[in-house]
Amino acid sequence: MVLKVVFLLISLFTVGSAFMVVTHRNLFSSALFLVASFFGVAALYVLLEATFLAVAQVLIYVGAIATLIVFAIMLTRGMMSGRTSPRNDQAVWAGLSSVVLGLVLLYVVVYRVRWPVVEKPVPPDTIERLGSALVGPYVIPFEIASVLLLAALIGAVLIAREREI
């Protein structure tokens, strides 16, 4: 019961922050709300007993991605001022269809489908398992992910670098 209340609070926080992310006029505030939302998600992971993921979430999302975003906002300065509308012409349509999609998803995914839920505790050695899975069966994705990161970094540098000429 407590868990449920906690869950509700966290999720309200998360979803609320997310809502602010997509609606706030000020871009910088949006970014802050994004960070908040990421923290909320990390808390949900904790509730789901995926602590490693929670940590990773904080490290990667909050530490890396959110920072990157803020950097980008600073570099493309002047964009957080609310002089022009943050929303484009199709915002209404986008809202309506998002609501429709959301309702359909909720109807199908949450209401209709009976998920094969099993009542099992999380094995205590989950983190070890995760580690060995990453160098075992999932070694290829793991390696590829590193290649991807390398390539993405080189690419990002290549593209974002100041003009030399």
């Binding site: 209709r112 999932y138 290829i140 994705p141 590829i144 390539a151």
Partner: protein
Amino acid sequence: MFDTSTFIRLLPELILLVTALVVIFVDLYARRRTALGLLPGLSIVGLALSFLAVFAQWGTREVVAQTLAADTFAAFFKMVAAVAVILVVLASVRYMRARTRYVGEFYAFLLVATLAVYIAVSARDLITLYLGLETLSIVSYVLTGFLRDDKRSNEAAIKYFLYGAVASAIMLYGFSLLYGVTGTTDLQEIARRLLNGDVLVNMEWLAWPAIVLVTVGFAFKASLVPFHQWAPDAYEGAPTPVTMFLSTVSKATGFAVMARMFLVAMPALQSSWTALLYGLAVLTMTLGNLIALRQTSVKRMLAYSSIAHAGFILMGLVAVTTALGQPFNGLDGVLMYVVAYAFTNAGAFAVVAAVEDGTGGATLDHFAGLVGRAPFLAAAMLIFLLSLAGVPPLAGFAAKLFVFAPVVRQEYYVLAVVALINAVLAAGYYLKVVKQMFFVEEPERAPFAVARSMRWALWLMIIAVFGVGIFMNWFAFMASQGAAGMLGL
């Protein structure tokens, strides 16, 4: 679980990776002029070696490191990709040198993209599959936006990026649902669990959403209408060699992944995904062709044409029969089309690149009277366009034959008629270019020369286009083996 055999199986990928690194290092440490000459050669050698490594293992059917399948299906696509990228490299030598300083990185990225393709086409696990596709996407964004000082290139990359990010997120959502209902990410395993009674009950509601969501990602890669809209912009804005890559290799990967996903993981849901793909096929070919009719830029026209061709390829998948041993099973049509289309479309874009080099643009007007100014280019373009139109004895005909056939076999008459009309529509705008090149005479415009590497690439592609058309049997053999090898791993 890691032994020598695994390394041997992974040799093609490793070769690519090593080559990519070597290219970067050479670029860093060699003098610029040496590097410019050396890099394409190195890349081609790497690709060729990797091609040979794949070819040497033709016929194997085994699981490598749990998440990869070393089967003929993957091998087929890998070989197509390797050859196509070699052509891309050849076509980009002069083009890229004239436009950017970062030639080394360009080739390295091409190699990494190829590697991603290798992974994606052989992935037999949702995770690997996703990662392969995503790597390909991200590298492609970089390649598209490679000319960072070019507004169009940048715009193309941004659109591609945003579109890709959203599409892959949607696909991921679909993956997560699939994972949720089956509890596994292994494709074969998913298929097995889907046959389980309980799961099937759940799937009654989930099958369609899962298919739709998953398809968004693949359809984005394969640029199927209505998930195609990034393509014309990205194709037009990207450096032309990259467009070559995107419109052939990248697109083929989309089909490979889609085929594997649907055929391996979801045979139980065939009626659902067939219906979806049927609709997409009709939309794709019709819309692509209709819009292509109205284009004045040849590059953009070819972009739309390649969208339309995706519709044709899809026909093979729509009409696929699970009896993959027979000819005209549909899947071999996809393979045939992909190989024929790779050469042909790559060729057409290569010509566009050469024309851009020679005249500074790629609108219909730039093609006027091409036969007088660069007869070889005109002739090559003619051959490619005719092949795209499906005129025998060129590759495009073989391709059309192999995708029309399953449709006729399955008696999808509406689809057949739509395809028929589209074949004609397509010919209409191809001829527009032919007309510009041959019928309009522009005696006052000066002739221009074509780079030697480009000549090589074009000759290779011309030979390939004729080869696939005339020695259809050999390619059909490979394709049917490729198709037959996919199931059961």
